[in-house]
């Protein structure tokens, strides 16, 4: 038993499914309408698709799910009634937040407001206690007062409680004691301790992360329990049931339910994980991922097979201090609108036509041109092959929409369409530069990995403009995130802040701290069913020059050697130079935090490798269409993606159609299909 892996990435419109037959490495995919009121309904429907083929539920050995349940509850303000405990005198930490407004327009916008508090002041209570900057207790915890406070919060109907006390990352006992008291006084109340969620220095970010966790935890726990119930009812009983996290790793259902905040920014993680796997198996070690959908475009950098990670992120102005894959999002998608303003200037974005009315060519009443309309006018999209012909596009409506803008500019419609696409391309190029050249990476070493519905339409031109090595379009660009869910490992991150001069720190102390974190990690992974042989531990330190306001995470090898800390110092200087262009080798360096990642390795999935079947390029030809490239209408062949055989090569201009995406190979580019059936595009002469 145990032959199938099933993954599902739940999106706003569609739930994407990928099924892997572990025996044959065969992959099949499906897209079903999402059921936002209860996402698990669509999930069960997707499982049924597999069972309908005669697969027994017991044959499903692995299930991984990318969910936006937590994200949506946060964005829509639909978390539970949450309370907050802070150190006496420090209610301002949450209400003042960072104090400043975001850079750019918000500074000028007198109507700008921070996002509303998830916990109002009336449900924020103070705890009489105080711990010093070195972890000494300055004021012992007043337990009686705390008990009164907790009772009062219980009477307010608090369902979940966040606790964030000053310096609790040095001395967690007060928070732990608070948990005991809460359990005694309001046993049904969920509780999130900042010393467990993220025991890291900087009170506001720790508090914000803990509050978000408390706000979402009961929601996610309920959702997972419900899903678990439905899967059990369908007799899908594998213990390998996972949820995707923002750090690009998975966690078991049980672990995810306890750390809800770690799923909030997990949306793009699946696609990145799939890209990392693509790096491993196909030999493109350096990639920029390019996920362009209907309203936005996400880009991320993968260097030497490792995605770039950041230690803090934001969602709609709320701060989450957890390691997450660094993703740069720009509002550029198929639905992005082009308009002419009062001064006769062409503006592309950031407004989007959204799902309703959507692009003019969808025939839902849209009259303003979108990027999708332009791609249709330019001949990149065909009227009859969108979603494999299931949705007919209205070319006349697209023309009318583009024409309305072109007229105001005194341009031909085709010129306007091409110009609009160039402008959106530049915006996406800038987003890519921001995560690559800005960090000292040379883009000529990188391939652009294009996925999402619109990514492969734009990728080749963008890569050429940026001087990149080329473009890789994976076999299933439209369900690529769900592909990533097949290939991840379980990853848990642990952190402890302990500020101290590196030169004054001895390696025994460093070793002891890491040992403590490692014990936690091994315990958690053991609970999730991983034997010692399947566990990998990675350690790193957040370091800075003394007095600097910003830390860099630097990896450290174990076991520690006599010269480990000196080497660490050297590596820090090197990393600092690489990231920031300068070093200060004479300045003392401080350790701020210790980080440890516990990885539970899931048996690896090999991307299927295909053998040529001896079909010629002509066998894949669907039709010939005229499409516009650099101002000229050119005849170009349109190929069926699923009929392109391994090893075929062709020259642009050409277009490749498949169910969920269209790939454009512009004039002057050539394409080939590699053994994994990726389309690899490069500029000729490059």
């Amino acid at each position: 038993m145990g032959r199938y892996r099933v993954t599902v990435d739940t999106g706003g419109t569609f739930s994407d499914f990928v099924y892997l037959d572990e025996g044959t490495d065969e992959i099949t995919v499906a897209k079903l309408p999402s059921t936002p009121d209860d996402p698990s309904r669509a999930i069960l429907a997707g499982v049924e698709v597999l069972l309908a083929k005669g697969v027994a539920p017991a044959d499903i050995s692995y299930f991984c799910h990318g969910t936006t349940v937590g994200t949506n509850a946060l964005l829509e303000g639909k978390g539970v009634c949450t309370g907050l405990l802070v150190t006496e005198g420090f209610r301002g930490i949450y209400e003042v937040a960072e104090q400043c407004r975001p850079h750019g327009a918000a500074i000028f916008d007198i109507f700008y407001d921070r996002p509303p508090l998830l916990v109002p002041a009336s449900r924020t209570a103070e705890v009489r206690e105080r711990v010093s900057a070195v972890g000494d207790v300055l004021l012992p915890l007043d337990e009686d007062a705390l008990r009164q406070t907790v009772r009062a919060l219980g009477a307010e109907g608090v369902q979940s409680l966040a606790v964030c006390l000053l310096f609790s990352f040095l001395h967690p006992k007060h928070e732990e004691r608070a948990r005991t008291i809460v359990a005694e006084e309001i046993p049904q109340c969920a509780i999130s301790l900042s010393s467990e969620v993220v025991p890291q220095i900087r009170e506001y970010y720790r508090l914000s992360t803990t509050v978000i966790n408390a706000y979402l935890e009961p929601i996610l726990a309920r959702y997972i329990a419900n899903l678990e119930g439905r899967l059990s009812a369908a007799r899908v009983t594998t213990p390998q049931k996972y949820i995707m996290q923002s750090n690009g790793g998975m966690a078991t259902f049980a672990a995810s339910a306890k750390k809800a905040v770690a799923t909030v920014l997990s949306g793009p993680a699946g696609g990145i994980t799939a890209s990392v796997q693509t790096c491993r198996t196909t030999g493109y070690a350096n990639l920029v991922t390019f996920d362009m959908g209907g309203t936005s475009c996400d880009v991320a950098l993968i260097k030497d097979g490792q995605p770039s990670v950041q230690n803090r992120g934001t969602i709609e102005g709320r701060h989450i201090s957890l390691p997450m894959i660094e993703i740069n999002t720009v509002s550029a998608g198929g639905g992005t609108l082009a308009r002419v303003d009062a001064l006769g200037q062409l503006q592309v974005g950031p407004e989007s036509a959204g799902a309703v009315p959507g692009p003019a060519c969808y025939g839902n009443g849209g009259t303003e041109p979108t990027i999708t309309d332009c791609n249709l006018v330019l001949g990149y999209l065909g009227e009859n092959n969108f979603l494999a012909g299931r949705m007919k596009l209205d070319a006349a409506a697209a023309h009318r929409a583009v024409e309305s803008v072109a007229q105001k500019l005194g341009m031909e419609a085709a010129d306007a369409a091409e110009g609009i696409v160039r402008i959106i391309d530049v915006k996406m190029q800038e987003a890519i530069k921001a995560i690559s050249t800005m960090r000292g990476h040379d883009l000529s070493d990188f391939y652009l990995l294009a996925f999402g519905g619109a990514g492969p339409l734009h990728a080749a031109r963008i890569a050429a403009e940026l001087g990149m090595a080329g473009v890789v379009v994976p076999l299933y660009p439209g369900v690529y995130s769900a592909m990533g869910l097949l290939m991840s490992d379980v990853k848990h991150d642990y952190i402890r802040s302990r500020i101290g001069g590196l030169a004054k720190t001895n390696s025994a102390d460093v070793g002891r701290l890491f040992d403590e974190l490692e014990a936690l990690a091994r315990q958690d992974l053991r609970d999730e069913g991983f034997g010692a042989d399947r566990i990998t531990i990675e350690r790193s330190l957040d370091l800075r020059y003394a007095g600097q306001g910003y830390e860099i995470t630097v990896g450290i090898d174990f076991p520690l050697q006599a010269d480990s800390l000196q080497n660490l110092r050297r590596r820090f200087d090197e990393t600092h130079r690489q990231m920031f262009g300068h070093t200060a080798p004479d300045e003392p360096v401080e350790i701020v935090s210790y980080r440890l990642r516990g990885i539970g390795r899931v048996p690896e999935v090999k991307l299927p490798k295909f053998k040529p079947e001896g079909r010629s390029l002509k066998d894949a030809l669907r039709e010939t269409r005229t499409a516009r490239f650099a101002g000229k209408m050119l005849d170009c062949p349109v190929y069926f993606r699923d009929r392109l055989d391994v090893g075929v090569q062709f020259e642009g201009p050409a277009i490749v159609d498949q169910l969920d995406a269209t790939t454009v190979i512009p004039a002057g580019h050539s394409a080939r299909v590699d053994a994994f059936k990726n389309i690899v595009i490069s500029a000729r002469g490059a």
Partner: protein, 574 residues
């Protein structure tokens, strides 16, 4: 001109300044640059007009052109590829005060000067009598630290190490200052490279034509919006507490706005004479303050460049607080700029009532200098603390925020206590500090410190005497205060700006920051909003009664409105 090319150039310029900015934040050495992000970057044309700026600090819109002009005046015929210039002189350039050091680098393409890359970043200390270089008791700029007129710092790619040694010798924190300057240089070099790529792509002639057109478009956009406003003459004034030297003498900032058709002018001539203390503001910042208000009223999303500055005219009187004569001191200019911005909003509220707002908390920083970090070095603990924003048309003012042109992060308590001999005792919003109004002012911040080692303390604040004013019958916000050893026989209040108070180990000091003014008649505030404020602890029951005419009572754990009493109170008033 090609409509597509313009948009592409615009998107590219935005990307370049963003990239420079990110580079500066990452490479900056000091906490001020990296955590408080008190720094910004811009691209200029050969005349010094800003063609693109990533706005972090609005005042720098005016500072960049003036810094460039300073460089051009001194080195006009002698600027070559690979140069870099430093300037931090408020009279020779555009720096608001000496700590705001500008690095300006020329950009050449095919042998011709195409423009400049620039950045301005606040330095933690540039010498002078007090740590942080901002003495509230300065009487000349010679009391405000080391001033560099435009000087060539880099020639042919080689840094002038003599200059670095001079700067280092004049700062209490030489490593931080030089580290930040090098970070600025790196940001400039990045900008140069990116700008040259853009020029290569579109050709220099076409690119420059696009830059010019973008300036023109921003100007036209402002003028088109202004043309729709009612014509008229509007007048307003604000007072700041004092200048730090003459303590009981408020300083007047006064503006007359004349608007006719598409043109608008601002005349500040009736403002006070230049002050003896450091409350003066140089004219480049006056222009920036006007631009800030116009952008806010017209379109916060407008493409920011010097074209905006061409859409209005401005008059200041030489010898006044807004156009002081050398060497009048300027280091605590910010309170005056807030007064300017608030007088502008007040005058223009007649034009744009939908964007009316009451006054906010102004801004303040505290600077503690000493000699005992864990590393045993001289330290400068620098914090910027906001307060309440004014009530707005249809919305309450924000609490615990920066306002107007000021925008810095609050310092982390855990970081401060780990790095400096200080312990923070209290950090909370102040109930009842927001001005009463139909739309309430935001609340001020209370931050109380226990000082653990002898140190030198300076404050540059605002609105400790004259409160943030309400608008349209709204009440004023509560004033700010700085109290040393509150509630003890030694209790003492420092003036709004004060330099070099000798704090002793064991001293407690408490900073209360002002709340924002209210907007509209408080008796018209919906009672349920007043009730919510009481429940959240933002307004006390006593003030609900006296300021809002809303009687509330306890009902178990909840607060409820006493409808009858409230009706009587509110009817009695009208």
């Amino acid at each position: 001109m090609d409509a597509v090319a313009i948009e592409i150039v615009k998107a590219s310029l935005s990307g370049i300044v963003q990239e420079m900015q990110n580079s500066l934040f990452r490479t900056g050495f000091s906490t001020i640059v990296r955590e408080s992000q008190d720094a910004s970057c811009a691209l200029m044309n050969p005349k010094g007009d800003v063609i693109a700026q990533h706005v972090v600090l609005p005042l720098h819109m005016g500072a960049f052109p003036a810094c460039c002009e300073g460089v051009l005046r001194s080195y006009g015929g002698d600027i070559v590829d690979g140069d870099a210039f430093l300037i931090n002189h408020p009279y020779e350039g555009g720096s608001p005060h000496a700590p705001d050091m500008a690095v300006i680098t020329p950009v050449f393409f095919e042998g011709a000067l195409i423009g400049f890359c620039g950045s301005i970043a606040h330095k933690s200390d540039i010498g002078g009598p007090v740590p942080g270089s901002c003495s509230g008791q300065a009487r000349e700029i010679f009391n405000e630290g080391l001033h560099l007129p435009a000087i060539r710092y880099v020639r042919g790619g080689q840094r002038n190490l003599d200059i670095e040694r001079i700067i280092a010798a004049n700062s209490r924190t030489p490593e931080l200052v030089l580290g930040d300057i090098r970070g600025q240089l790196g940001a400039s070099r990045l900008g140069e490279q990116r700008l040259r790529e853009l020029l290569a792509k579109f050709g220099p002639a076409e690119s420059v034509a696009c830059f010019d057109r973008l300036l023109e478009l921003s100007e036209l956009r402002m003028r088109a919006a202004i043309a729709e406003w009612v014509d008229g003459r509007f007048e307003a004034e604000r007072f700041i507490d004092d200048d730090g030297i003459e303590l009981n003498k408020p300083v007047r900032v006064h503006v007359v706005v004349e608007k006719k058709g598409g043109s608008i002018s601002f005349d500040f001539s009736a403002s006070a004479d230049q002050t003896k203390g450091p409350a003066n503001v140089r004219p480049p910042l006056v222009k920036a303050a006007i631009a800030y208000c116009l952008i806010s009223l017209v379109d916060p999303h407008i493409f920011i460049n010097s074209g905006i500055m061409r859409s209005f005219s401005v008059t200041t009187r030489e010898g006044s607080v807004l156009n002081p004569r050398f060497p009048a001191p300027v280091n605590t200019y910010n309170a005056t700029v807030h007064a300017m911005v608030e007088s502008l909003f007040a005058a223009l509220s007649h034009v744009m009532p939908a964007r009316a707002r009451a006054d906010g908390c102004g801004s303040r920083s505290i600077i503690i200098g000493g000699r005992s970090t864990s590393a045993g070095k001289t330290y400068v603990q620098y914090e910027i603390v906001g307060g309440g924003a004014g009530g707005r048309a249809m919305k309450d003012g924000a609490s615990g925020t920066t306002v107007n042109q000021s925008n810095a992060k609050i310092a982390s308590i855990e970081i401060m206590e780990s790095e400096f001999p200080t312990r923070i005792l209290r950090f909370e919003l102040i109930p009842d500090s927001g001005g009463a109004g139909e739309f309430r002012g935001g609340l001020g911040i209370k931050r109380e410190y226990l000082n653990l080692a002898d140190a030198r303390f300076s404050i540059r604040s605002s609105k400790h005497v004259i409160p943030p004013l309400g608008a349209a019958d709204g009440g004023p916000g509560r004033t700010g205060d700085l109290t040393i050893n509150p509630g003890t026989p030694d209790e003492k209040h420092l003036p709004t700006r004060y330099a070099d108070y000798p704090l002793k180990a064991g001293d407690i000091f408490r900073l209360d920051t002002p709340g924002g003014g209210g907007l509209g008649d408080a008796f018209k505030r919906e009672p349920k909003k007043v009730l919510a404020d009481v429940a959240q602890g933002y307004v006390s029951p006593e003030h609900a009664l006296s300021d809002y005419g809303v009687a509330v009572a306890r009902d178990g754990n909840n607060w409820i409105i006493d409808e009858v009493k409230t009706k009587t109170l509110r009817e009695g008033k009208s």
